[in-house]
């Protein structure tokens, strides 16, 4: 639920309660005022009638409500003080409404020439049910009007006010630490948003700084390792050429050398990965992948033959895509090499090029590789100590960089598929 609707919802609930309570209070107060005013009127009439009776005793015969709105009856109550004026509500048949309608009645006792008379005075009253109904209708009207105005307010005013917020959210949603510069938001007049903007700016700037620092660190570390590695490797090579070493010693040195070479390759692969991430391969040109694959298959032919694997290329179509030429070579090399290395001797490797896909299929272990983490760094399918475990993650990094999908599947053979957009 959107923030705007959220506040509107609470407003709506709050208003129902508020308006209901207010309606009750208002109604009670209003009715009270109405009674007060009616009772005042009746009191006044009573005085007038008593005075009129005093002047004209004939009036004492008005025992029925007829033309008059009062009746006078002789009463047995002697003491005036024993009877206090009383106001009551009652029903009376109204000719015009053809129904019983509420009336206000005042009963009083007065003395005239030594006898006591009971005076009943009536006046027509507001119809409470009508009143409540009216009140209800008007209040519902008021409620709707309020909700409507809140909605209008939200959608016009609030939306404008919240605009910087939504813009910030939008930028955060698409923010990619490896691609974008830190977020810089436009200043607003609202303090909270300014604070938020500043915090987000600082946060993204910090994250980006540490991301860059980390990248730089990996790259620098890899670079700095090159020279000592070179010195160590070369010293051992010189040592091997010196006479007087036993065969066992030579082999020991040879094994150290192998490991240093492995370290070098690992280092180079890390550098390559960080360079891909760093967007250091900016040049791009239209690469004919069909051509590239065919050329590569020739390069790998000796190696594949050595492993008793036949490389079959099935190019139905010309596939071209814009990519850095060096990276294109690395991408295809890694995938084809992967297929050969893990391929099964005596069974072919199929490289199929269709419309927008390159599929590389090899036989091998007869079960699917765990696809989760397949392209992660330092993941190795075998305990082969000479594999860097970076080949597929480099391929993946290159594919990702150019929005090419690199996927793995297994039927009766392992298949890596490049799907070009």
């Amino acid at each position: 639920m959107k923030l705007l609707n959220h506040t509107t919802k609470y407003f709506a609930i709050l208003l129902v309660v508020l308006i209901s309570v207010w309606a009750v209070i208002f109604y009670v107060a209003m009715i009270d005022e109405v009674y007060d005013s009616l009772d005042d009127g009746l009191e006044n009439q009573k005085e007038i009638i008593i005075q009129a009776v005093n002047d004209n005793p004939e009036l004492l015969n008005d025992t029925e409500f007829g033309v008059n709105n009062y009746t006078i009856k002789k009463t047995q109550v002697h003491k005036e003080t024993k009877f206090k004026d009383s106001y009551r509500d009652t029903l009376m048949y109204m000719q015009n409404e053809e129904d019983y309608e509420p009336v206000r009645i005042l009963e009083s006792v007065f003395e005239q020439d030594g006898s006591y008379y009971k005076l009943k005075l009536i006046t027509s009253m507001v119809e409470e049910d009508d009143q409540i109904e009216n009140l209800f209708i008007y209040l519902v009207g008021l409620y709707l009007a309020l909700i409507l105005s809140i909605l209008v307010l939200n959608n016009i005013v609030m939306k404008r006010i919240w605009k910087p917020f939504y813009r910030l959210i939008g930028r955060l949603k698409t923010f990619r630490i490896e691609k974008d510069d830190p977020i810089t938001a436009e200043p607003t007049t609202i303090d909270e948003f300014n604070l938020l903007n500043k915090s987000v700016e600082r946060l993204t700037e910090k994250s980006r700084d540490s991301y860059l620092a980390q990248k730089e660190f990996i790259e620098n570390a890899a670079h700095e390792l090159q020279t000592p590695l070179a010195i160590a490797i070369n010293k051992l090579e010189l040592l091997l050429e010196k006479n007087g070493m036993s065969i066992a010693q030579s082999q020991e040195v040879g094994s150290v050398l192998d490991n240093l070479t492995r370290l070098t390759r690992l280092n180079k692969s890390l550098l390559l990965l960080s360079k891909i991430d760093n967007k250091q391969y900016v040049d791009a040109e239209r690469i004919d992948f069909t051509d590239l694959v065919k050329k590569m298959v020739q390069d790998f032919a000796d190696f594949a033959t050595h492993k008793d694997i036949e490389l079959k290329v099935d190019a139905h179509q010309k596939l071209t895509y814009t990519m850095n030429p060096d990276l294109a070579v690395v991408l295809m090399t890694n995938l084809i090499k992967n297929a050969i290395v893990h391929g099964q001797g005596g069974k072919p490797i199929h490289i199929e090029i269709v419309e927008n896909q390159i599929r590389i299929q090899n036989y091998g272990e007869n079960s699917a590789l765990q696809s989760g983490g397949l392209f992660e760094r330092f993941r190795k399918a075998s305990a082969d100590s000479r594999s860097t475990g970076l080949g597929l993650s480099i391929a993946k990094a290159i594919a990702d960089k150019y929005d090419v999908a690199l996927t793995y599947s297994f039927t009766d053979r392992h298949e890596f598929t490049l799907t070009f957009p």
Binding site: H223, E224, Q226, T227, L229, A230, I231, I233, N234, K235, E237, L238, L240, E241, I247, S250, Q251, V253, G254, L257, D258, T261, R262, T264, R265, K268, S269, L271, K275, Q280, Y281, D302, F303, H306, K307, D326, V330, T333, N334, K337, I340, V341, D384, S385, R386, S387, T388, G391
Partner: protein, 225 residues
């Protein structure tokens, strides 16, 4: 043959000097920009090994300076910064080759030999060893005037071994040279072994006076018999 090594890392410099001196080159060294600048101004060299990152300047500036002086010394850039930019910049500025650190000594020899050969024999750069003669341009091999056909990888193995004749070439150095940068599998050693076997057999069949011998399982050595 005179070679100048411009390198600020003393141990690196010492390794290169030692290995090149064994090939009977006259090796001079410079450890910083100023010293290097003085030397290239004063002398001519057959080959200059140039480190790009020097304490007091950029090696690429030296390259510019060299070209400005109209010198034709062969230049191999040796750099720990295997960046595409530097490679392209260096080659555009007239460097003959680019060798990223770390490298194998055998690779260094092969590169230096190629440069020296190209400069000294201008075009006619046939390599003669024993009764074997190789034309790197046409990639053809003659043993006692008769052509012997080597496939691509075998040819690479043979020329690399010849560039490093009588010296130990480790398996990894050979594998990397022939196979390129992308090998990282144990298979490549087996593969190299089978290539070597083929080369040996072809040489022996053609009665060549050179042979490749295995050195304690560490590498190989080409000898003239």
């Amino acid at each position: 043959m005179k070679i100048l090594i411009i390198e600020d890392e003393p141990q690196m410099l010492e390794n290169m000097r030692q290995t090149l001196e064994r090939e009977q080159y006259i090796v001079e060294t410079a450890t910083d920009f100023t010293a290097a600048n003085d030397k290239i101004g004063a002398y001519d060299y057959d080959c200059i090994l140039l480190d790009i990152t020097l304490p007091d300047g950029n090696g690429l500036e030296l390259l510019k300076e060299l070209k400005a002086l109209g010198k034709e010394d062969g230049v191999i850039i040796v750099s720990a910064k295997d960046s595409l930019d530097d490679r392209i910049k260096g080659l555009n500025l007239g460097a003959d080759d680019y060798l990223p650190k770390p490298f194998h000594m055998a690779e260094l020899h092969a590169r230096v030999k190629a440069i020296v050969r190209r400069r000294n024999f201008e075009g006619n750069n046939q390599i003669e060893i024993g009764n074997v003669s190789i034309d790197p341009e046409s990639r053809s091999v003659f043993v006692a005037e008769k052509e012997v056909v080597f496939n691509r990888k075998e040819f690479d193995v043979l020329t690399y071994m010849i560039s490093n004749k009588t010296r130990l070439v480790t398996k990894t150095a050979l594998a990397e040279h022939v196979w390129g940068d992308h090998i990282d599998q144990a298979d490549s050693f087996d593969f190299i072994y089978s290539q070597i076997k083929n080369v040996r057999k072809k040489l022996a069949d053609a009665r060549a006076t050179i042979e490749i011998e295995a050195v304690y399982g560490v590498g190989y050595k080409l000898q003239v018999v």
